[in-house]
């Protein structure tokens, strides 16, 4: 009996080493997986961020059609960098709304005239409260919202060229 006990440390180590080996064989995955997938959007009503466009409410996402929700700020450099990709998405037929974080109307207007305007509506989230309720950790971030107002996908960071087909596929899948 006692002799058998002496094998316990080796057995425990073999189990741990097996776990390590398995982990090493995996592709490293550094993605933060969103806990928001499948959650309904929080209820919000945002005033227009620019006078020329409507503001944004939760109800606007319950139209039966999936939409993109882009969280951005005119003060944010990666937001300007992703503008061409947003334009590409808009040309491919995506409906895009936005929330402007900690911004002022004139600065948003200047941003839109500099980098293009793919948005149907832009809500003004001056103190980040809707951004926090959404669970978005920074700008830019882009959500795919299905026709019932539920979050189907969260893209953290700027949209790069290779992300465009992924987002289009997610939009299609959210239908």
């Amino acid at each position: 009996m006692k002799r058998r006990l002496f094998w316990v440390p080796l057995a425990a180590f073999v189990a741990v080493a097996g776990l390590f080996a398995w982990m090493l064989s995996q592709e490293p995955d550094r993605q933060v997986r969103s806990r928001l997938i499948g959650q309904p959007l929080p209820a919000f009503t945002l005033a227009p961020a620019v006078p020329t466009k409507p503001g944004l409410t939760t109800a606007a996402f319950r139209t039966g059609q999936p939409r993109l929700l882009n969280v951005f700020g005119s003060w944010c450099v990666p937001c300007a960098a992703e503008a061409p990709q947003l334009a590409k998405l808009a040309r491919a037929g995506a409906k895009i709304d936005a929330i402007a974080i900690r911004d002022t109307p004139d600065k948003v207007a200047a941003f839109l005239s500099d980098y293009g305007d793919p948005y149907a509506a832009i809500g003004d989230d001056r103190n980040s409260s809707v951004q926090l309720a959404l669970g978005s950790s920074g700008v830019p971030e882009t959500f795919v919202i299905d026709g019932q107002g539920r979050i189907a996908h969260q893209h953290i960071g700027a949209i790069r060229d290779e992300d465009v087909p992924i987002l289009l596929a997610r939009l299609k899948a959210a239908r």
Partner: protein, 638 residues
């Protein structure tokens, strides 16, 4: 030239390790009672080879330090991790602030420890001594191979760049210059215990002499580990600017686990040395302690755990270290399983006795070790089943905290027990005073707003402080053996450190404010007036410096200057907390961002008695040092 010389020294050291292993294996395979001359010669030659190996490894490391000191940018490692415009201290410290350099330091400590065993160890029987050196050489050989084939620190870069990429500014701190080397001396110093255990298993020679021989080495490694952890904790506390001193980060756990195992080993080896008990257990702990060091190295180097410390994320290197891990830990544990049954059973003892107390200590330390290990590996296990989670302070504090307090209670009683057997009633009389102190402090603090755990922590700390001094009562201070003094000081250190931890979590006052210039905020007994900011420049950084005029209870005002620093190489922003230390605690101020409305974020903490945490750590290490001097002197006297 220096790089090539360093590389040559490294290859030669590797060759010496192989030679050492082969010579020892051949010599030990002869089982004749009257070994032939050649075997005796081989046994005698293993020692000088081990010394040569240590010197060559040291030479290779010195070469790398020289390359960093000169900022020789034709060496890839220097170009990637250093920069010519850096203070000399950080140029040298950059040697081990990267993967290759720190692995070279690792193997250097290993080889030097082997050389030291060869030079200074005289208590062990020759065969066990040679077997120990063989084990040390076997470990070294694997890590030389790892360096030479997967992480060559001396690789050249062509063409030579105009300047280097620089060192992570978080690491540009005097704390970094000493923290990793100290920790490594501890980590890798435990390899000595591992090799002793393997050597003893090979020759089946486990007994009191073995324990006495091993004890000072374990003690030495443990002292460095204690200093390394204490310094690392303080460094994280003031450099990260989060106001915390322990984050249960996987890499912190990787240093805590060997410490827990080594602490348990120090106590069990005492039972083995004094009473010839706990033979198998002591051997296993020796293997486990260094195994924890290697597992820690693996976790940090393979990148399978994400941590602020993980700087070399490389699956090839991970596989290499894993292979070494399986070879050494698996090999040693298999040897343990096969051989330890043939080691003669040691002495048995009564449950109420010093031995019994030390067994309790070992059990509780092992449980804490198990909790930390499970908590660290659980995210990996969960991920294997497709769940992503992280295990944080709430788990560790709740699971390990109560057991640690139980351990502290046992620690108060243990040293007051007699060897072999003791009587319950006599023990109760001896612990009456510390128990009363614990109770009084508990009742006195019951009406403060301290939570239950900090309350228990503070009262047990007071009881332990009293109990730890009791072994000195009735002894002449000059006649008391040094190891007893060491134990008293180290246990007192635990009490002091625990008091600091409990006080920090019970009484810390925290404020987060957005302050306009001229505004006054209060935290604890302090009134803090925000004067405004001004730009300052340093050696290789510029900063925004906040100026805070602080008065305590209306006393003499003084200036605190927290900074937000901007480093150019590589471009990084760090926050430099400003600390004011008092006898009864620390005021901790961090300068945050501008809110674009003329206000600055300020984070202010008043942490009563927080410094006791590290003072206690220092006392623990000092106790170990006093004890070590005593042990070495006693051996000399023999």
């Amino acid at each position: 030239m220096i790089a090539e010389a360093g590389l040559a020294a490294l290859w030669l050291a590797a060759a010496m390790a192989l030679l050492q292993l082969a010579m020892a294996a051949i010599a030990l395979s002869s089982r004749a009672t009257e070994p032939p001359q050649i075997v005796r010669d081989l046994l005698a030659a293993v020692r000088p080879v081990a010394v040569a190996q240590g010197l060559l490894a040291l030479g290779a490391f010195a070469a790398l330090v020289a390359l960093f000191a000169r900022t020789d940018l034709s060496v890839l490692l220097v170009a990637e991790n250093s920069h010519s415009a850096k203070p000399m201290l950080y140029k040298v410290a950059a040697t081990w602030g990267n993967h290759e350099g720190s692995m070279l330091l690792w193997v250097t400590v290993l080889a030097v420890a082997g050389g030291a065993i060869a030079l200074f160890e005289r208590l062990l029987a020759t065969r066990t001594h040679v077997a120990t050196l063989a084990a040390q050489a076997a470990i070294a050989a694997g890590f030389y191979a790892f360096l030479l084939f997967a992480s060559n620190p001396f690789a050249r870069l062509s063409p030579t760049p105009l300047d280097g990429l620089g060192l992570n500014p978080l690491l540009q701190d005097p704390g970094l210059a000493f923290h990793p080397p100290t920790l490594y001396l501890g980590y890798v110093g435990l390899s000595v215990a591992f090799s002793f255990a393997v050597g003893a298993l090979v020759t089946r020679d486990v007994g009191r002499d073995f324990a006495r021989a091993m004890r000072p080495w374990v003690l030495g490694a443990w002292i460095f580990l204690t200093i390394g952890i204490t310094a690392g904790s303080y460094w994280a506390y003031y450099e990260l600017g989060w106001g915390g001193w322990w984050f249960w980060d996987p890499v912190e756990n990787a240093s805590l686990m060997p410490w827990l195992a080594a602490t348990a080993l120090l106590h069990s080896v005492t039972v083995l040395a004094t009473r010839d008990g706990l033979r198998a257990w002591t051997i296993m702990l020796s293997v486990v302690a260094f195994s924890m060091s290697m597992v820690g190295t693996f976790l940090v180097r393979s990148g399978i755990l994400t941590s602020v410390h993980a700087f070399a994320v490389d699956p090839t290197r991970g596989s290499f270290i894993l292979a070494l891990l399986i070879l050494y830990i698996g090999g040693a544990l298999a040897l343990f399983a096969f051989r330890v049954g043939t080691v003669r059973q040691g002495a048995l003892f009564e449950p109420v006795s010093r031995e019994g107390g030390l067994v309790l200590n070992n059990l509780l330390l092992s449980v804490i070790l198990g909790i930390v290990l499970i908590g660290t590996l659980y995210p990996l296990l969960a991920e294997a089943f497709g769940v992503q989670l992280s295990v944080g302070p709430p788990f560790f504090n709740r699971a390990a905290g109560p057991i640690a307090l139980l351990l502290v209670a046992g620690m108060a009683v243990g040293p007051l027990l007699r060897w072999r057997r003791d009587r319950g009633r006599a023990v109760a009389r001896r612990i009456a005073m510390p128990a009363a102190v614990t109770l009084i402090v508990f009742i006195a603090l019951l009406f403060t707003d301290a939570g239950l755990m900090p309350l228990l922590g503070l009262s047990l700390a007071a009881g332990l402080a009293v109990a730890s001094i009791l072994p000195l009562v009735g002894r002449s201070p000059w006649r008391t053996p040094m190891p007893i003094w060491g134990m008293v000081v180290a246990h007192l250190g635990i009490a002091v450190s625990l008091a600091g931890m409990a006080s920090d979590s019970a009484f810390t006052a925290e404020r987060l404010v957005a302050a306009r210039p001229g505004e006054i905020n209060r935290v604890g007994p302090f009134a803090i007036r925000f004067e405004g900011i001004k730009p300052v420049v340093g050696d290789n950084w510029s900063a925004i410096q906040g100026r805070l005029i602080v008065t305590r209870d209306g006393g003499q005002p003084f200036l605190l200057r927290p900074e937000q620093r901007f480093f150019a190489n590589p471009p990084t922003e760090t926050s430099e907390a400003a600390l004011a230390t008092f006898w009864d605690g620390q005021l901790y101020a961090v300068l945050g961002r501008d809110d674009h409305g003329g206000r600055r974020q300020l984070r202010l903490w008043w942490k009563p008695f927080v410094t006791l945490i590290w003072a206690g750590g220092g006392l623990i290490a000092l106790g170990g040092f006093v004890s070590l001097i005593g042990r070495v002197r006693r051996r000399r006297a023999r």
